[in-house]
Subunit: 413 residues, 2 copies
């Protein structure tokens, strides 16, 4: 499709016609601050009641000094006449709904002061272009006019790095994996950082969104292979912020859930660095819905307890297992995959029913997402059918998962 | 700023120059499928090594049949010559970095087959335009070429309603309140529905994003004033889906957390309706970070138990209060605000220390957001300082909140 999206800088625009399609074009032109002349035999749309319209037949005298002419009159012979004479008079032509008489097409536009975003499908799918326009409208920062004035002033003074907070750390919850599960706030944050310190559970779709000139540092803490100690990460964050960079600390899921947000935020705050925390979709709940598990299912569970089976130095944490006896809630266990055998064993030792329903939801929010529904007694077998990372959900609410819609694959043992 | 964003439909473009700024323009033109002629005295950028470049001085013979001429040669006298002759030869002119010789500006562009989005700040803030371009790039659906071919085929057949799933229900987690805390998936879903059934905890910023022609139905279940029974909501969802509409069920926070997602999803699925569930940022965790509370803080809490103080028919649920005795976890209580007195009373009856740290985080993710840090014994006093909706967090981890950054207002009792 040979369309070239550009921003025209016309001084004067001529609009022919005053019906409903002319109204749409007029609205578009008024938004652009160009001078607009309207010529029409009669006013057919209420929009033009309070506008200055020259009530006349078109003649080429009206074209003088016009860079752009829009024929919204539905008069095809006029369109042809304009098309044949446009080079002679030196104007660009758009004849509404007559693509063969168009030097350009209008686009679905979102405006915020100096910022202008336009969407086109080259006429292939105007409703879809409108859908995309609405999406974009939702994410655009709503800056004041002053924001743009300040940018112009700073640029005039030679300051080019003006869109970022400097010397700041953003703790960014990146959700369970896909870019689709990212929040708008996180998306904006990712696009404003100089340096990204990235955890292992952050999806590739997310890191692919980082700006080209953003420095990426992998600080993933893999079990039995600590790449960097928490203290080292803290020091790096502090140094980068003190050096004036805007640093993003990218964490999987929601940082409030076992995200070591306290260790980093308090260290930085107490060292005088400004910290902002951004929530994400929790992998805990993304896993539940993906597997069809409703953790707070009425009559089956009065709530959800979120724990981790993995403690500092790769130790197994089994404190929570004893709670499973007559437990009224749903137990959601992170980092449980590698301890599947040990969990089943501990439950047996404590005399907890091995028939207690349980499910692993593995590789959440990815193409390999799989749910294995079984029981505490079958945990080892269940683990063999999936891989980590996986969330383990235990409790009566799991039994009802089979009635629920789910995403990805699901195996019921 | 008088710029008019449009999609030009040039047949032939002439580019003068073969340096680095010419390379950027050439890249732009090649993306638009227009025919491109390049004339340059010498090749200055490696980009042009494998491109067809006419090694010559510019002359007007090259302008023949060109709709658009780009002077990227930095030769200002040539720019002036072109500007003076552009109407005579009938081309549009862009002279790089010389705005006074420009009929149009280029824009930061994102492309996906037929879809083309362009961003401009009219030259005011090009780096900011690039930032916005990157944001948009992240949210654009990555459709195949076939998607656009299918749209064209369907439109040719007169089918205009082609961007929506029909007869489907989307259970949409809308997060704690602000549009910024919405996920990209939820944003796309909101823009694709015909009918929205909206819960009371869904923020106004979210419902403002709904398409203009989307029908909004308030199904908020206010305490002591059930507007609609769950069964009635189920029947409405079913009827609308069966009638062929794409129905959005908008829920605050994450639907996996006390979102009645099971009741609706199972009813619809068992009645043959396709259901999709979309997670959101949970108000539980948004509240924690807003108030500076780390619910899974090492050494203070081994996890988080999420419960609700409100049961069917507005009854107070106090089953969870007894767990607070020697509790190793953080208790997060939803719908607790109205029961502040009763919770403190029950704790006292059970002999649970009234010094147990507690915090209300009220009006989460709004301008009125406020955190009240206190103890179980001070719950009544705390409730008086805020309003509902509010999340109640109880446990040792709350004591450390005072060291953490927070957002909104905070009062420490």
């Amino acid at each position: 499709m040979n369309i070239l999206p550009v921003a025209l800088t016309p001084k004067r625009v001529l609009l022919i016609g005053a019906g409903s399609s002319a109204a749409l074009k007029a609205e578009n032109i008024y938004g652009s601050d160009c001078s607009l002349t309207i010529v029409a035999k009669e006013i057919k749309d209420i929009y033009f009641c309070d506008k200055e319209v020259i009530r006349d037949e078109f003649s080429f005298s009206y074209v003088k000094d016009c860079d752009v002419v829009i024929n919204a009159s539905a008069d095809e012979s006029l369109s042809q006449l304009l098309w044949e004479n446009r080079k002679k008079y030196g104007f660009l032509l758009n004849c509404v709904d007559m693509p063969k008489y168009c030097d350009f097409y209008f686009q679905a536009v979102v405006k915020n002061h100096d910022l202008c975003v336009s969407v086109s499908t080259g006429g292939a799918a105007p409703k879809y272009a409108q859908f995309i326009r609405n999406l974009i409208s939702a994410i655009l920062p709503k800056h004041s006019k002053q924001f743009y004035e300040d940018i112009k002033t700073k640029r005039a003074q030679g300051d080019t790095n003006i869109y970022q907070d400097k010397g700041k750390v953003l703790l960014i919850g990146c959700g369970p994996g896909s870019a689709d599960n990212l929040t708008l706030k996180a998306l904006k944050a990712l696009n404003s950082i100089d340096i990204a310190m990235v955890d292992s559970l952050v999806g590739k779709e997310i890191t692919d969104l980082l700006p080209k000139n953003c420095i990426k540092i992998d600080v993933s803490k893999k079990k039995d292979c600590h790449k960097l100690l928490q203290e080292e990460i803290n020091e790096m964050l502090l140094k980068c912020a003190k050096d004036g960079f805007c640093v993003g600390r990218l964490k999987g899921g929601d940082p409030a859930v076992f995200g070591r947000v306290f260790e980093e935020a308090v260290f930085l705050t107490e060292n005088g660095v400004n910290v902002e925390m951004i929530n994400g979709v929790s992998s805990v709940f993304a896993g539940c819905l993906a597997g069809g598990v409703t953790p707070t299912l009425r009559g089956f569970s009065a709530g959800a307890l979120i724990v981790s089976a993995h403690l500092r130095e790769s130790k197994f944490n089994d404190d929570w297992v004893e709670l499973l006896r007559d437990f009224k809630y749903t137990m959601i266990v992170l980092m449980a995959y590698s301890f599947a055998d040990k969990i089943a064993q501990k439950a047996e030792e404590l005399g907890i029913s091995l028939d207690t329903p349980a499910a692993f939801i593995s590789k959440i929010d990815s193409d390999e997402q799989i749910t294995i529904v079984g029981t505490l007694g079958k945990l080892s077998e269940m683990a063999k059918l999936c891989s980590k990372p996986a969330v383990l959900v235990i409790g009566k609410a799991v039994t009802e998962a089979t009635r629920m819609p789910y995403s990805g694959k699901r195996v019921i043992l």
